[in-house]
């Protein structure tokens, strides 16, 4: 099959879960009750992904708050800071490294197993990369960013190996932060090498919102099988770079903007896929949204995913024999 479809990781939480997470934070409901609702929401998202025909599923991260803080909360050596603003009226809590980082138990494996048991389609193991956890944390312990990052790489490698042992055929290690400091790209590549070395599962990384011009084509050296990119947000300017230097890896092609309420038309999405297909061999292209959809409402996220699927199916038809 050509143009396999997937998503980047997070989906919006249904209202009952948002409410329950708040109640749990106020100790008004038990952890067991929260877990039951997180599982219910996960099931609903798996059903939706199957219903619209997505090929490689995710669990939707119903049990996670922030992609970095979630791991920090589950690793020893981190504390969690007070609130910091990311944009507009959105705030998050940043991890603070205060001691040597250690993983005492697997963090995501149970959720992977729970979700995979709900479907015959492959479910991705979802991790946040060492460079991004380092870059988005405060550091009160390590003498340098490099020391901090490489320690995290060893810890994330343990998690990736456990996911693979649990059966994950796809392991995504998100590194949205690598696009912003070209001078540290070598460090990010070295750290990813530690995580993915020896894995047999297909490995992916997601990169977004940065200065791709400054890290391309060097970013193709990140040792993963597939690089998933946010493209719609920048109106596909990025693809021009690929004319100058071919994109040699598989690409996760972001086709819908996750930070806009506006619903893309099917034609727009088809045009984006066709444009990418004119520059990258079809068998290397996977179709996905720009980024995690958790900042959209459930309805908006579903509508964007439906458009993505409808457009992909039609483009598949167009390219039918060529891609077979």
């Amino acid at each position: 099959m050509i143009l396999e479809t997937t998503t980047v990781g997070s989906f919006p939480k249904p209202e009952y879960l948002t409410k329950s997470r708040f109640q749990f934070s106020k100790q008004q409901i038990s952890r067991e009750e929260l877990l039951r609702l997180e599982q219910q929401a996960t099931k609903e998202w798996v059903e939706f992904q199957e219903e619209i025909g997505i090929d490689i599923l995710v669990d939707g991260e119903m049990y996670r708050g922030d992609m970095v803080t979630y791991f920090a909360e589950n690793f020893k050596g981190f504390e969690i800071s007070g609130l910091v603003r990311s944009y507009g009226n959105r705030y998050y809590r940043k991890p603070v490294a205060v001691a040597e980082i250690e993983r005492l138990n697997p963090v995501t494996v149970e959720w992977y197993q729970f979700t995979q048991a709900l479907t015959k389609k492959p479910v991705k193991g979802m991790l946040t990369g060492p460079y991004t956890i380092m870059d988005w944390s405060f550091d009160e312990f390590y003498p340098s960013r490099r020391d901090f990052c490489l320690r995290l790489a060893e810890v994330i490698r343990e998690e990736a190996r456990d996911l693979e042992a649990a059966g994950a055929q796809f392991i995504q290690i998100d590194e949205p932060a690598v696009s912003v400091r070209p001078e540290e790209l070598d460090l990010a590549i070295e750290a990813m090498g530690i995580v993915t070395n020896g894995l047999k599962a297909k490995t992916l990384t997601h990169i977004c919102y940065g200065n791709f011009e400054k890290i391309y084509p060097k970013m193709l050296e990140i040792p993963v099988d597939q690089i998933d990119l946010e493209l719609s947000n920048a109106e596909y300017d990025l693809l021009d770079l690929f004319k100058r230097h071919p994109f040699t890896r598989e690409i996760g092609l972001g086709v819908v903007d996750v930070h806009s309420h506006r619903l893309e038309s099917k034609e727009e999405v088809k045009k984006r896929i066709r444009k990418a297909a004119s520059l990258i061999p079809l068998k290397q292209i996977y179709v996905s949204p720009d980024c995690g959809l958790k900042t959209r409402s459930v309805e908006e996220a579903k509508a964007k995913l439906r458009v993505m699927m409808e457009a992909t199916l039609e483009v598949r038809e167009e390219f039918g024999s060529e891609g077979a």
Partner: protein
């Protein structure tokens, strides 16, 4: 004479305690049509006043209004300029914060002063001098998309005229200290000549206020000492421990007043007071210590409010220790 202390600009809009979260709550209510725009503005004023009082209570000498009303480093200004539209979210330099990218679609114009009211409000809340922060035209241009002007130069120059107008109006309102934030120069050093042209426009006829240009998100290698010829009285740099700027500044005597960012406002780790005093001692060989301001290197919004307060306390403590050492 003691070195004075100031903030480079922004202060965390909310804290972790319930009573420190009213602005966040008000935005939510406003988004759901449960709060009027006037009521939201009122809350912004209240939080601004609290931040000013907090700065004063912790011994800061030259206050800012904490940029509480600013949505991001560009939007507060550009959304009040006719000719700009706002586009998608873009990462702000190498941070994990974002801004809406301005897109210039027609000739840029401002109808009424944007910053004078904010200055007058802040001045009315304190007996200490208030510094006003303005987004630098060069940086606005670099972080925006220009669809209208045939030449990029004309786009920057029109922005320079608008910021000049704001600065002139601030002077007329009695503002003594104006700061222009220009982080983008450090990643576009090849445009240094254009930068000089921009600041000739920005500072023309400004005679009453002391003007500062603040540079961060990089180092000043290759543009120092050239930037000492800029038509402003003071330059501000990141001078945290080990920053490359220390080495660059050692190469030529600083002939302008210095605003030294000695405290790291992108990490919660607290500096040791002894280390900071040693840094402050080193400033004496770079610039006139009697005219030097001590501050931090980035907006305090990169820290949780509690940590920002701790860093401010440390800053004023170091300044007062330095004063003691100076007397003895």
């Amino acid at each position: 004479m003691a070195m004075k202390t100031t903030l480079v600009g922004g202060f965390p809009k909310i804290g972790d305690r319930i009573e420190e979260q009213k602005l966040r709550k008000s935005f939510h209510q406003f988004d759901k049509d449960e709060l009027s725009e006037e009521a939201l503005e009122q809350v912004k004023d209240e939080v601004t006043e609290e931040v000013i009082q907090l700065e004063e209570a912790n011994g800061i000498d030259l206050l800012t209004d904490g940029l509480i009303r600013w949505e991001d480093p560009l939007r507060y200004f550009v959304s009040r300029v006719s000719g700009f539209e706002l586009s998608g979210l873009i990462r702000y330099f190498d941070t994990n914060t974002f801004y809406r990218q301005p897109v210039c679609e027609s000739r840029l114009e401002t109808i009424k002063p944007i910053f004078v009211r904010d200055f007058e409000f802040a001045r009315g809340k304190s007996s200490k001098p208030v510094r006003v922060i303005l987004p630098g035209p060069f940086t606005i241009a670099k972080l925006s998309v220009n669809h209208f002007y045939k030449e990029q130069k004309q786009f920057v120059f029109d922005l320079a005229h608008l910021i000049h107008k704001e600065a002139l109006q601030l002077e007329e309102a009695g503002c003594e200290f104006i700061q222009f934030d220009e982080p983008a120069l450090l990643s576009h050093k090849e445009d240094i000549r254009l930068f000089f042209d921009v600041y000739r426009i920005v500072t023309a006829q400004l005679s009453k206020s002391e003007k500062t240009i603040f540079f961060n998100f990089g180092n000043i290698q290759d543009i120092y000492p050239k930037i000492l010829d800029l038509p402003v009285e003071r330059l501000g740099f990141d001078l945290t421990q080990g920053h490359p700027n220390w080495e660059v500044l050692a190469k030529a005597k600083m002939t302008k007043k210095l605003m030294a960012g000695i405290i790291d406002s992108r990490n919660t780790k607290m500096e040791r007071e002894a280390d900071l005093l040693s840094l402050v001692g080193g400033l004496g060989s770079i610039a006139d210590p009697d005219e030097t301001w001590l501050t931090h290197n980035y907006s305090l919004e990169f820290l949780p409010r509690e940590n920002a307060i701790q860093k401010i306390k440390l800053l004023t403590q170091v300044a007062s220790q330095q004063k003691g050492a100076g007397v003895s």
